[in-house]
Amino acid sequence: MSSRRPGAGPTLNFKAVLLGEGCVGKTSLVLRYMEDRFNTQHLSTLQASFVTKKVMLPDERRAQLNIWDTAGQERFHALGPIYYRGSDGALLVYDITDQDSFQKVKSWVRELKQMRGSEIALIIVGNKTDLEDQRAISYETALRYAQTVGAHYVETSAKENDGVNELFELLTRLMVEHHGSKQQNDTNALRLQNSISDDGVEADQDENGHTNAGVQRSCCGI
């Protein structure tokens, strides 16, 4: 159990899924991210469907991100659950010039909330900010929506490499926090003390604090 590894233990392993309609730029986002700090260590680093990346966390721990791309076409929609089960985070990508793709994100959010509850870190990503003049979803609308569903909102441009690294950094951070609070819960369960509930509440508050900060920061960054 968690108590077995103190502090800087082995690499943390995270799974994140990319969801979103076809052609909103899921693949480009990943490619852009991988391209920047490119390292060939996996048999299919060349492919964009599944990528994995090692990152160093601020606290010296190492984490491995496994990013699962999904097919966005409607006929594949029903297959969603087999991709996102067991995932720690989800990037819900839409195209800011495309109202439909935003609706699709909403339907993914509903589904994820229903299936995974709060176990999964959600980030809504408005991609293609380079097409600002064709924008169909205003920043505020998306942000408000994200806040109502407890998700983060980030805007990016995969084409101009704007906000991509920040996006994945945020994702990593959120998943680490999730992981941390989960571990905290586990540890509490093991302590067999009556102070469990106190600790748990504290941890939750802490996380919320971070969460808000996260939204703020990502907004300003763009």
Binding site: R5, Q103, I120
Partner: protein
């Protein structure tokens, strides 16, 4: 089942922090710890709900308890005389305490689950219900749970107490063994038990009182559901299950995919204290090990990849040159490869060939030795699995997976025979920058010992199961149909070149080898080779642009063109038997993709009939205003998706008729609650019975107008009109 915990009087001061406990035990100085918790005077009963408050904790606790009761019936061996004893969680110490000599518990975890219901129903004569002497026994079992929850805290021992306990256990175990269904094997152990101080953790079926039996029965069903949900298709409730394939079960099953999936993982990891990658940490002194492992894995996978590529390319060349005699050539090639590089099975995952090999050889030898606990357990497991009537391959595989993980852990923690000595000598031969990936080595050994003998049995179950659910037939039918279609019918975009004929031949050949391969890791190796061949064959200049949007249709195409009807079985086979930790990474992703492709193929004919070919975007519902077909959107409220159906209509077909047709086609049982709506700019207007939907569309004049068939009360936020440039 009642629950226990140690009262606060139980030497709180003596409980070392888990870390401290570990380090102490690591140094091998303090082996004399025991459980003062065995002092039953100090136990208070508490319901877990009461104790933990938090339902999540309760669930975790119960899961663990369940799993422990499962794993509790493991055979225990003599404690190896070994100085540098690694891993120091309490249960091990607990076992050390009691296992000075050969103790024996016969374990039929899987059998228990399988036969429990029968036993309950018939109170089978072979396993009479246990009576009073077992009361104490049961408590002991539960104590064990409590201690597990306590994260490995062990207390200094009191020799007398311990001996008393052991005597009790000895008596109990004698009783237990008599009750075992597998009397023959159990009886053999009684002899040894009576002469030694023995330990029995538990044989739950026989020992647990009625109520526990009841609990277990619930568990059995639950376990089955979990095993099913844990399979790839389980996540979308598409796992063929004769009991669950009722229409409604799809959404039901899909409710907790994440939970189910992690469950297995969680259990094993928790019980065996594996690290994040599912490996058993060998030696705490080698702290660099954790890091080295990552690097070693990389280099290993790089090596493997190079080998795949080599194999593929060679095969490719030969194939193209002389299609007629390619098989012998490939065989020759493989033989050559084997000579040059060693058989992949031997080579795979072993970091340092020398030391690893000797240990591996010893493990195999141990498995041949009928007197070893290790061999007996394996033999029992195999015979029990073969005898069992379990019809769901997912359940069988789950049992196999747990058994293999359990046996690996058993070897590493408790060793047997000269295992630890061999391990030490292997370690001594390691260079300073090397380490022994014991976990991976044992994994291949266990595959050979467990999967190989059960392979045919498992395949038999698979085929029966999928035949009964008609999945094979459905897939075969669709594959035959899809085989004739063009790439565009699969939704492959014009920018992506589908694999050429020669590439398909090569892939088909690899798939054939995959099906012939016996071991999950061999299959996986070939499967990843298939995938990279597919990527290479798609003609994207650097292979770079192929995201899932494009890859999945290509994979569907490949499965159809190669007639890979066994795809689902092969995927589930690997998924069920490989280490859960592998499934989070690349193998997991591509196995998932393969199953997705299968799922898409299964509905290939149906979807083509309904939504037209190729174009899979619902926005393409902008048909010419007047046509002989009418495209209607049907929101699926279960999963929040939109389906399109295309209906043949005459110019004056009324809304009423359209509704009737759709209700029939979509098998809607309460058509009175549904109606047809016109959607303009996301705004819906109810169409009356007599209205003509075709006219309604015409009336929208240039505006993006769609027809939707939905529940009248359903509140749906429609996508507004598509913008031409947005795609």
């Amino acid at each position: 089942m009642s629950w226990f915990r140690r009262s606060s009087r139980a030497h709180p001061a003596n409980r070392p922090a888990p870390d401290a406990a570990r380090s102490v035990a690591n140094s091998g100085t303090d082996m004399s710890k025991s459980l003062s918790s065995l002092d039953e005077q100090r136990i208070e009963r508490l319901e877990p709900e009461e104790f933990f408050h938090d339902p999540v904790h309760v669930r975790h606790y119960k899961e663990e308890a369940k799993f422990l009761s499962f794993m509790a019936d493991w055979e225990i061996v003599d404690h190896p005389q070994q100085e540098n004893y690694f891993s120091a969680d309490f249960e091990e110490e607990l076992l050390q305490q009691r296992t000075h000599t050969v103790p024996y518990t016969h374990t039929h975890t899987h059998t228990r689950t399988h036969t429990l219901e029968d036993k309950l129903a018939a109170c089978s004569s072979a396993s009479p219900q246990p009576m009073p002497p077992l009361g104490r026994k049961r408590k002991f079992l539960e104590l064990l749970f409590v201690d597990n929850i306590r994260t490995g805290i062990a207390l200094p021992s009191d020799g007398n107490q311990l001996q008393q306990q052991q005597q009790q256990r000895q008596q109990q175990s004698t009783v237990l063994c008599k009750k075992s269904k597998y009397a023959s094997s159990s009886l053999s152990s009684i002899g040894s038990i009576s002469t030694t101080t023995a330990t029995t953790i538990s044989t739950t079926t026989a020992t647990c009182p009625q109520q526990v039996l009841k609990d277990c029965r619930i568990n059995r069903k639950q376990l089955k559901t979990e095993a099913l949900a844990g399979s790839i298709m389980g996540a979308i409730g598409k796992c063929p299950n004769s009991e669950l394939t009722a229409v409604g079960s799809v959404s039901l099953d899909a409710c907790h995919p994440g939970e189910r999936n992690t469950c297995d993982h969680y259990d094993i990891k928790q019980f065996f204290h594996l690290d994040d990658q599912g490996n058993i940490l060998l030696n705490m002194a080698h702290i660099v090990e954790g890091r080295a492992q990552g690097l070693a894995r990389q280099s290993q996978s790089r090596r493997l990849y190079r080998r795949y590529r080599r194999g593929c390319e060679c095969a490719d060349e030969k194939h193209c040159d002389k299609p007629g005699c390619c098989m012998p050539l490939i065989l020759l090639l493989r033989l050559l490869c084997r000579l040059l590089f060693g058989h992949p099975r031997n080579k795979m995952n072993i970091q340092s060939v020398g030391p690893g090999d000797s240990l591996r050889a010893y493990t195999l030898q141990l498995a041949q030795d009928p007197s070893s606990t290790f061999a007996r357990n394996i033999e029992n497991f195999i015979s029990c699995t073969k005898e069992s009537r379990e019809a769901a391959p997912q359940v069988v595989m789950r049992n196999m997976r747990q058994f293999m993980s359990g046996m690996k852990n058993y070897l590493v923690k408790h060793g047997e025979g000269k295992f630890h000595a061999e391990l030490e000598s292997a370690r001594a031969r390691l260079k300073s920058d090397e380490f022994l990936n014991l976990d991976a080595m044992l994994e291949t050994v266990m595959h050979q010992l467990v999967v190989l003998p059960l392979r045919e049995h498992l395949y038999g179950i698979f085929v029966d199961y999928y035949k009964r659910s008609e999945d094979i037939q459905l897939l075969a039918q669709n594959v035959r149909y899809a085989y004739e279609r063009d790439a565009s019918d699969f939704g492959i975009r014009a920018t992506v070149t589908p694999p050429s004929q020669s590439a398909l031949r090569l892939i088909a050949n690899l798939l054939w080898r995959l099906q012939e391969a016996e071991l999950p890791l061999d299959k996986l190796e070939l499967f990843l080779c298939v995938i990279s061949t597919v990527f290479d064959a798609t003609g994207c200049p650097r292979g770079q642009q192929l995201g899932a949007d494009d890859f999945l249709p290509v994979l569907v195409y490949v499965v159809a063109k190669c007639g890979f009807v066994g795809a689902e079985i092969e995927a589930e086979f690997m998924w069920g038997l490989l280490q859960p930790t592998l499934l989070n990474g690349e193998p997991g992703y591509y196995l998932t993709a393969l199953c997705s492709a299968v799922q898409v193929l299964k509905t290939f004919m149906a979807s083509e009939g309904e939504s037209g070919s190729g174009s899979l975007d619902w926005r393409s519902s902008c048909l010419p205003a007047c046509s002989s077909v009418l495209r209607v959107i049907i929101p699926d409220e279960c999963n929040g998706s939109l389906q399109t159906r295309t209906l043949p209509v005459r110019p004056h077909t009324t809304t009423r008729e359209v509704c009737r047709i759709i209700a029939h086609k979509a098998r809607i049982t309460n058509p009175q609650d549904y109606a047809l709506f016109k959607l303009v700019d996301g705004e819906e207007t109810l169409l009356t019975d007599a209205e003509c939907p075709q006219d309604a569309r015409l009336a929208a004049k240039g505006k993006h107008c769609m027809l939707a068939y939905k529940r009248i009360d359903a509140k749906i936020a429609w996508p507004t009109a598509a913008q031409p440039g947005s795609h």
